[in-house]
Amino acid sequence: MSHPHIMPVRTSFAIFIALLLLLVATVGAAYLPLGPLHFPVAMTIAAAKAVLIVLFFMHVIYSSRLTKIITVAGFLWLAIMLTLTLSDYWSRGWLDILGK
């Protein structure tokens, strides 16, 4: 039998500190005059935090390839939904279609 990977306490605390630093970064970025870049910057930092939590706190980095695929797939469906929905909403009115 194989034992589950036991994450060292030091790793847990290192990830926690990294998450707090990213939190400070996201609040700091909100006060910077970034204009339209606010949202992409905030979401990039949030995604970085999510990746740290998924990989280490949720042990995906130590998991089998099947678990990794399912993890990625979970977020992939959301990406598909966002892409298709927003490409519709954003492109409405681009073309002047007769009878619309």
Partner: protein, 241 residues
């Protein structure tokens, strides 16, 4: 799950103090495969949860991109420091949950109970702060469909820029549904951790409950991830302007 096994009783009788040893169910090749089946099942559930919140996130994306000014104005009425505090609390609860998972793997019984308890305390603290925020929102007349009024300090801007006050209200619809759904998940999570703590205390699990605590941890961390996205989406929209 090995805990529901009909063999468990027999095994416990044969080895009265063998709770720390995992019991291999007949349908699995080995304990690693057995544990993976559980975590995989939880991940599949979490994939559906991503889509559950995904509907609200998509609605948010549509409204934020079509009415950025209204959404930004409305968001200024949220309490950024309290949101910050709550994020720290929830990240801390993820840390204690990760330590609880480790304790269960090491069969450190006392540590496990302490960390599960701390996780519940932090989760409850988060809900308490949330309740304070919601109460403040009520007194500021920001509850959509109940007592919503465009805040006085925004009335001039709304008129000057011909903004749609309905879209400001829509921000609060999204805010309450997203934070509300998140809070419901947290309440379920606290209950789940409580049940796990009680069963661990009673030494009800075989294998030290490592698989069960791990799976509970996955759910808890997922709640944390949702908040990691909600905080910048709702609280930190262009605080500068």
């Amino acid at each position: 799950m090995e805990t529901l096994s009909p063999h468990r009783g027999e095994a416990a009788k044969a080895h009265p103090s063998s709770d720390d040893e995992a019991i291999l169910e007949i349908q699995f090749d080995d304990l690693a495969q057995q544990a993976e089946a559980s975590t995989l099942g939880m991940w599949l559930f979490l994939a559906t949860e991503v889509m559950f919140f995904g509907g609200l996130i998509t609605a948010y994306a549509v409204y934020r991109s079509s009415s950025p000014r209204e959404i930004a104005l409305a968001s200024e009425h949220l309490n950024v420091p309290l949101g910050f505090f709550n994020t720290v609390v929830l990240l801390g609860s993820s840390l204690t949950m990760a330590l609880a998972v480790r304790a269960s793997q090491l069969r450190a019984h006392r540590q496990l109970l302490i960390y599960l308890g701390l996780t519940m305390v932090l989760g409850t603290a988060f809900l308490g702060v949330k309740a304070v925020e919601w109460t403040a929102d009520y007194h500021e007349k920001l509850i959509p469909g109940w007592n919503f009024q465009v805040p006085e300090e925004n009335v001039a801007e709304v008129q000057a820029e011909h903004l749609n006050p309905g879209r400001m209200q829509m921000f609060f619809v999204l805010y309450f549904f997203m934070t509300g759904l998140h809070a419901i998940h947290l309440i379920v999570g606290i209950g789940l951790v409580g049940v796990m703590a009680y069963l661990s205390y009673r030494r009800w699990f075989s294998g030290g409950g490592a698989t069960q605590i791990e799976v509970t941890g996955l759910y808890w961390h997922f709640i944390d991830i949702v908040w990691v996205f909600l905080y910048p989406m709702l609280y930190l929209i262009d605080v500068h302007s």
